[in-house]
Symmetry: C2
Subunit: 278 residues, 2 copies
């Protein structure tokens, strides 16, 4: 009888993934951490029964959360990733020639342990000379490092469990302070179809802090709700001014400079959500 | 106990949708036709246990399969839709001022019957003065109408069951002949993640027929595999020449002219599939 990972997203909708093998399963101080072999998507990091990363599609999310802000900034040197313990975003950030230092602050050392052992595709970045793996609470780490970073990436899980503070106003305020005066912030903002209230709340909060706020999109097969949103706040640089700027060519599977131009085009129903005054 | 619609997409992956009510269920000459009320997505047309259309997200697919080819053509007058029995694509095509006639050729009259009764959101087009509902086999209809249409839209179900012929070379050849000398063809080409062999096969076939062949993308929540592909073959007009052309403003929920520009940007992994010589 096959083992099924049933991802329950609402009373009306769930996904069934056949699990060929459970490779790692531990309860950490924060959550249930597992690495499984999915029949359809290969190895996957699963936190509290929700797929976070699979080897077959991690590139979409990791490239898009990283390269869009890093190419909006003309010469980023210091990058901070909050969360992102699988290492995929750090792997992408380290590809940028201008980047000298990538600090990855993951709260859960069990995530690091599991990914180091079973997800070399993403955790390869742990040993990259530019990358520092820091196992601390990102909320505190941000407070302790004002005026430090060119780009801060909030690579969090869903806004439940240990990630809930990463969607709060105080946190966003402290992120603003941890950025240099021309810094850029980005966070994953869940599904444009399923989580419109969240997208709107994040957008409104970020808009109040940053002169330039943009939502962009990408589609990751294992993230339900399907059109995934990213919210970017920028103190100085506008991605529209960078559309035709010369940019480093990278080895990527999803991202390219046409995608950079295209990802800011939003469907009408999302524009309406963002522009509404509710 | 809730009724669950289990959409089985592979041995490793299936979706569970809670069904609040079954409104219509009949076996036609071609397939099992049902209209159900989904808890998450509202009313839905389901053919052979696969969701085709839901009232909550049909606009993505229907707008994107229609407005992209219709705005690539500078002045389309006669449009043919093969399949599309729910009426959503016809509803969108009729919005274009230049369009004088929309022929919708659906093989299964039970689909028409069910949608007329239970899906007024899309079947409203049946009574539009520009729209002709034709219940015939599209394969034969195409053969009988050479050199007739400005735009032909293949709005088919998956390439199994009654739609299988709509993905074949002979059919594509006859579609080419049914177009006028500056005509445009578009078909849905399934998921860019799950069905790459199909996308490649369709792309290669269309490229041999048309001087201009483009793949574009959109994301529809209820279509699994998530980044959905559309393949367009054009005898004369290139969408890139139409990017900044003046276009009619339409009342739409997903489509806008920025989306028109953006939807042709393809991820690297898809470009590699299309450009490979296997």
């Amino acid at each position: 009888m096959p083992i099924i990972l049933n991802e329950h997203h609402s009373s009306g909708f769930s996904l069934n993934w056949t699990v060929d093998k459970v490779l790692y399963q531990q309860k950490s101080d924060f959550q249930q951490v597992a690495i499984v072999e999915l029949q359809e998507m290969g190895r996957a990091l699963v936190l509290d029964n929700i797929i976070q990363v699979t080897v077959k599609d991690e590139f979409v999310y990791n490239e898009m959360i990283t390269h869009v802000p890093l190419f909006t900034h003309p010469a980023p040197e210091k990058v901070l990733i909050i969360g992102g313990g699988d290492g995929g975003a750090a792997r992408e950030a380290a590809k940028h020639e201008s980047v000298k230092q990538v600090d990855m602050c993951e709260i859960d050392e069990k995530v690091i342990e599991a990914c180091r052992e079973y997800l070399p595709e993403t955790s390869v970045s742990y040993d990259h000379p530019k990358v520092n793996v820091i196992t601390k609470d990102g909320v505190q780490f941000i407070k302790d490092n004002p005026n430090t970073y060119d780009v801060i990436i909030i690579d969090s899980s869903d806004p439940i469990g240990p990630a809930v503070e990463l969607f709060g106003k105080d946190f966003y305020h402290n992120v603003y302070n941890a950025l240099k005066e021309d810094g850029i912030f980005v966070c994953q903002s869940e599904s444009l179809f399923l989580h419109q209230n969240l997208i709107k709340k994040v957008y409104d909060t970020i808009s109040k802090l940053y002169p330039i706020t943009k939502v962009y999109t990408a589609t990751t097969p294992t993230y339900p709700g399907f059109l995934w949103g990213y919210t970017m706040g920028s103190k100085k640089y506008d991605p529209y001014d960078r559309m035709d700027a010369e940019k480093q060519d990278l080895q990527t599977k999803y991202y390219n400079h046409d995608i950079f131009k295209a990802c800011f085009a939003l469907p009408n129903f999302i524009k309406e959500v963002l522009e509404s005054n509710k």
